[in-house]
């Protein structure tokens, strides 16, 4: 039995943020970190680059090699936590150890969704794509079997990043998206169309409004898929990228309050005192809609982890919620989407400018004279200024006409707000 002032389950962005948060105020007490995966902390989004061969294994690391040592972290990697006992304030692991804790952080992240009613998902050549191990396995499979054709199910971020990787490897790829367009959750129709056109130009087949109805196998090896529209695609490789769900199993089993994700307060504390949660496993307040939902993006995870870490030391810091946002470069097409990008309801004002030929698109969504969402495709420079406007809920009534301009910049901002953004610690204008 081991007694831990700080115990962290997980080893990704939220966990790293928590270590930083703890060490900001407590440089002495040991931190224990248990993670199912055996790798040193690595960057999950990099797996597509790893698969593509754009980064090597050394560059996967999210933190330097001496990170644990330098921060006094006892890292127990490759060890799976099987149970959290909230009453006994202990954690049991697969190898039979028990760790008691004073403060616990659950940062178990998300778990890929695989259709449960579809036969053949267990066949060789069928993968999900969320871990380093996934990337390694796919790479090994490709090397082993000489994959020529692939089908990626899911036209979201993970799906498209895997498509990009596969294209880089020279594999003929089809992306299949159930919705009527790709990136439907973050893009609007115009942006999706631009992205589709770009992908098609890059030689990717994009099939929307359909999905895989059956997996064809031979010798327990995938050979193709049949789509709901009846057509068939030959495929040596099938990747399911239809989404990720918070991995709330441990929390749920221990009686911690869970909805779509683990519920926390502003301090990232769960319903049980001394037990915190952060990252893709929690649901948080969407600052724009006010709804509680998982916003599984890296900056949120990092920030939440940091906030949790600070609060675990006894200091106070709050996380008020997040904004959905994503930046993704698809086969060389840079895109950024922030906040409410495709409001279905009334009461929104849209400013947009599209250049289909040049492949650029800029869309600003306003509500009550405040920016609530933005999409940038092709031309993404200085998009963060809009993110700031969204976060800080700045009244932009005086500069609406400037929003789409090429020259829109800090100088265009209201003077007071301009001072605010360029000032701050160590900075002044």
């Amino acid at each position: 039995m081991s007694d831990c002032p700080y115990l962290i389950i997980g080893n990704s962005a939220a966990a790293m943020g928590a270590v930083a948060g703890i060490r900001e105020f407590d440089r002495d007490k040991p931190v224990t970190l248990i993670a199912r995966e055996s790798e040193h902390a690595y960057s999950r989004p990099l797996i597509s680059y790893l698969l593509a061969g754009k980064v090597d294994e050394k560059r996967m690391h999210y933190r330097p090699a001496d990170f644990y040592a330098r921060n006094g972290v006892r890292a127990l990697l490759g060890l799976e936590v099987t149970r959290i006992d909230a009453q006994a304030r202990s954690v049991s692991t697969a190898d039979g150890q028990t760790f008691t804790f004073k403060n616990l952080l659950i940062a178990t992240g998300g778990r890929p969704i695989v259709p449960t009613d579809l036969p053949g998902t267990q066949a060789r050549g069928v993968f999900t794509f969320t871990t380093w191990e996934d990337a390694r396995n796919i790479r090994a499979y490709i090397n082993e079997t000489g994959v020529k054709k692939a089908v990626v199910v899911g036209g979201g971020l993970i799906g498209l990043k895997s498509v990009e990787a596969l294209k880089t490897l020279g594999i003929e790829t089809t992306v299949v998206e159930l919705a009527d367009r790709i990136l439907s959750s973050t893009f609007d129709q115009t942006a999706s169309n631009l992205a589709s056109a770009f992908l098609k130009k890059a030689g990717v087949e994009v099939r929307c409004g359909t999905t895989v109805s059956a997996i064809e196998t031979s010798d327990n090896r995938v050979t193709g898929v049949r789509l709901r529209d009846g057509s068939r695609r030959g495929a040596d490789l099938l990747i399911f990228a239809i989404g990720v769900a918070p991995d709330t199993r441990l929390a749920r089993d221990s009686g911690i309050a869970v909805e779509l994700g683990i519920l926390t307060d502003d301090a990232m504390q769960t319903s049980v005192k001394g037990i915190y949660a952060a990252g893709d496993v929690v649901q948080t307040t969407d600052l724009l809609s006010g709804a509680k939902r998982p916003i599984p993006i890296l900056p949120n995870a990092c920030r939440q982890g940091y906030v949790a870490g600070v609060n675990m030391t006894g200091k106070k810091l709050a996380f008020h919620g997040g904004i959905a946002m994503n930046a993704v470069d698809i086969c060389g097409l840079p895109t950024i989407s922030v906040g409410i990008t495709d409001p279905g309801t009334e009461g929104y004002e849209i400013k947009s400018k599209v250049d289909a030929e040049g492949g650029t698109y800029r869309k600003i969504v306003l509500k009550d004279n405040r920016v609530v969402g933005a999409i940038f495709v092709g031309q993404i420079d200085r998009a963060g200024i809009f993110t700031g406007l969204i976060k800080d809920k700045v009244d932009v009534s005086a500069l609406k006409d400037l929003l789409l301009g090429e020259e829109f910049g800090v100088l265009s901002l209201p003077a007071e707000y301009r001072k605010h953004v360029v000032s701050g610690q160590g900075i002044e204008v």
Partner: protein
């Protein structure tokens, strides 16, 4: 750490800061060669914005709680522990543009080859950043932060 203070009221919009930033971060560091042969390979880390007679030069603020560091998925964007300067490591960056998405002053740009992020490095290794040293009107000044 050092901090750069931009004095908007004295910025004359000449953009010499951009010119010298480009030269400093070029391979040759020779102005004519940098512009002639390497211009497309460097994006200045400082940008002058102008509107009418008002203008100012803005570069990375090296924020205390830097959103770009939190957003970076590769660890390429990191704070130099000694100087406190926020630096982007081009060897680690994969060009996901999360940093561009979160920087509230728009101080991170896609580098000249559109592959990796590029931003102000406060001219590491140079006593005075070149934008400060070459501003003809001292509209960009370097101050030592006591904190």
């Amino acid at each position: 750490m050092k901090r750069i203070v931009a004095r908007e009221e004295f910025c004359i919009g000449c953009r010499l800061c951009e010119v010298h930033c480009l030269v400093q971060h070029s391979k040759s560091r020779k102005i004519i060669k940098a512009f002639r042969d390497e211009r497309e390979k460097v994006v200045p880390g400082i940008k002058v914005e102008s509107s009418g007679h008002v203008s100012f030069a803005l570069q990375c603020r090296h924020c205390g709680e830097a959103p770009c560091i939190e957003a970076c998925m590769t660890g390429a964007m990191a704070r130099d522990p000694e100087t406190g300067v926020v630096l982007s490591d081009p060897d680690k960056c994969v060009g996901c543009w999360m940093c561009i998405m979160v920087c509230p002053v728009g101080a991170v740009a896609r580098g000249a080859n559109q592959q990796v992020a590029s931003k102000c490095d406060l001219c590491i290794g140079v006593a005075t950043p070149v934008c400060v040293a070459n501003c003809p009107n001292e509209a960009i000044v370097l101050e030592e932060d006591d904190e």
